[in-house]
Amino acid sequence: MSAPPLEAGAPPTKTAAPLLETRALSRSFGALTAARDVDFRLEPGARHALIGPNGAGKTTFVNLLTGVLAPSSGAILLKGRDITRVAQAERVKLGIARTFQINRLFRGLTVLENVYIAVAERTGVAPSKWRPAGLRRPVVDEAMALLESLKLASDAARRIAELPYGRQRLVELAIALGLRPEVLLLDEPAAGVPSAESHIILDAVAALPADIAVLIIDHDMDLIFRFARRITVLVSGAVFASGTPAEIGANAAVRAVYLGQASHG
């Protein structure tokens, strides 16, 4: 919780510099505005939740941050550097990783190979055409260690298609962590997982390394209020409210727009 000790001579404002920032970020699809002048800040080591009704533009926002979509206007800054025009793959190299609301895994490959691919890309091993992939011990060992930390090691040799959905969601997370991100965007990590299994995902999310800044999208209010230290509410593509969980929970307008609606069904 407490801020890390300042280096000697560092200006006090440095701790306030956001890791990731958007300024008046907008994106329209024809007449539909999926993101409207979004000003957003993600601090280093943040546990930040993005909530909002269906169609509020949460996934669009993640797609803008990762470079899948280009904004119609506005800017995205990572550590103060403008990355608005930086391609998706380059943003990954800069430390932004994501998971997908619907699994995007290498279904025909084993769990280990799935994570291997991510680690190989990050470490620059992937373009190499000569020595067999399996003999790259640092890559294999790192992928295995990651699987062990997520309690996936017992499934390492199984193909994705053979795994229960909950375990597949963990592989989604493992691939993203294999990129050693500074910013991790979790798009509904427990989506589609039967409630009996969802605690596995929640535990894994709760155990994420503290130095990774996490932005999580979810509908599960238990997860959000347990996990998040800051919440941003998105409605119709625009920031409706932002604050601590206590502030958001006490915000009557938010309850009317979102929480109330959720409790009705």
Partner: protein
């Protein structure tokens, strides 16, 4: 510690040579001694295997859906044919290297544009590229012989010693076998490398590959170029072995046949092209003897059965029947 995990061990061992991998090469050598009167057919099979191996790299491993792979086979064949016919170059080994280089250039150039698309669009564009090349070869009569092609190509003896005798194609057979072996060894190394692993990643889920920071278009272009080079080498040997080249090397017939062979044998498996080419060509050979007018009906029926019940081809069936393991991959 973690290296001892079964999954890590399996990954570390999957590229190792297995004893049965000697089988195709022993059979190919055995054919040379056992059927000296069928070496022409044998050479055709070996060249077809090489062509199918090149397609397997692009389609089976990287998931590049193409119906125009004969463009590269033809580019290689015409390179050898035109150089020989116009008295520019007769030496077979360097001629083959040139065939590979020209086909690679065609693959690189078209790949830069085409591989930005996917699925049906890509399929149509590969088909169009091939049709354009075919039409160009048809129109450039002075160079390519047009519809008649180029025949009686003067190819110098291999290594200065071994004549390409069209009646007793012993040289052709061993030459094709040696080139197939070298190209296959290259492809085998490639698919087990981290690069090959990333190609399978693109095949399995391209959007996710973007999301792990992979330069997907660049990887695909590299793969396509290498695949085109091997297809060009296959075409080059074909022209050298037959001492002629015609529009058929660039045609849809050849492109479709190699696709069928890969589907029949099993794509994304190193030995699928071997099984598929032998099965297809043996079947075509015997069916056309028994039913000269309707032999393609038998092949069609077989394909329907394969497409319906065995999406991974003959090797896929073998893998499903065998012990649970990652066969062939």
């Amino acid at each position: 510690m973690t290296g001892a995990h079964p999954a890590a061990l399996a990954l570390a061992r999957r590229h190792r040579l297995r004893p049965w991998e000697a089988l195709p090469w022993l059979l190919a050598l055995g054919w040379f001694f056992a059927f000296p009167r069928h070496l022409g057919f044998g050479t055709e099979v070996l060249i077809t295997i090489l062509f199918a191996v090149s397609l397997d790299l692009a389609l089976g491993y990287a998931g590049i859906v193409t119906l125009g792979h004969a463009a590269f086979f033809g580019a290689g064949a015409y390179t050898v044919g035109m150089l020989a016919k116009h008295g520019i170059w007769h030496e077979p080994l360097t001629g083959l290297a040139l065939a590979g280089a020209v086909a690679a250039a065609v693959g690189f150039g078209s790949g830069l544009v085409l591989l930005r698309t996917r699925g049906l669009t890509l399929l149509m564009l590969t088909l169009c590229t091939m049709a354009l090349l075919e039409e160009a070869a048809n129109l450039a009569h002075a160079w390519t012989g047009g519809f008649d092609g180029l025949d009686s190509l003067p190819i110098a003896p291999l290594l200065g010693r071994f004549e390409f005798n069209p009646l007793i194609p012993r040289t052709q057979y061993l030459y094709a076998l040696a080139v197939l072996f070298l190209c296959f060894a290259f492809v085998r190394t490639l698919v087990y490398s981290p690069f090959g692993q990333s190609l399978t990643g693109i095949r399995e889920n391209a959007p996710r590959m973007h999301a792990v920071g992979a330069p997907v278009p660049r990887r695909l272009v590299v793969c396509y170029t290498l695949s085109a080079a091997i297809a060009g080498i296959a075409g080059g040997i074909w022209a050298q072995a037959n001492a002629y080249v015609n529009l058929g090397t660039l045609g849809l017939d050849r492109a479709a046949t190699v696709l069928i062979i890969l589907a029949l044998g099993g794509h994304g498996r190193l030995y699928g092209p071997f099984v598929g080419a032998v099965a297809y060509m043996a079947l075509a050979h015997y069916l056309s003897k028994i039913y000269p007018t309707a032999w393609q009906l038998g092949l069609g029926l077989l394909l329907v059965v394969i497409a319906l019940f065995a999406k991974n081809g003959i090797l896929g069936i073998a893998a499903a029947l065998g012990p649970r393991r990652r066969a062939g991959a």
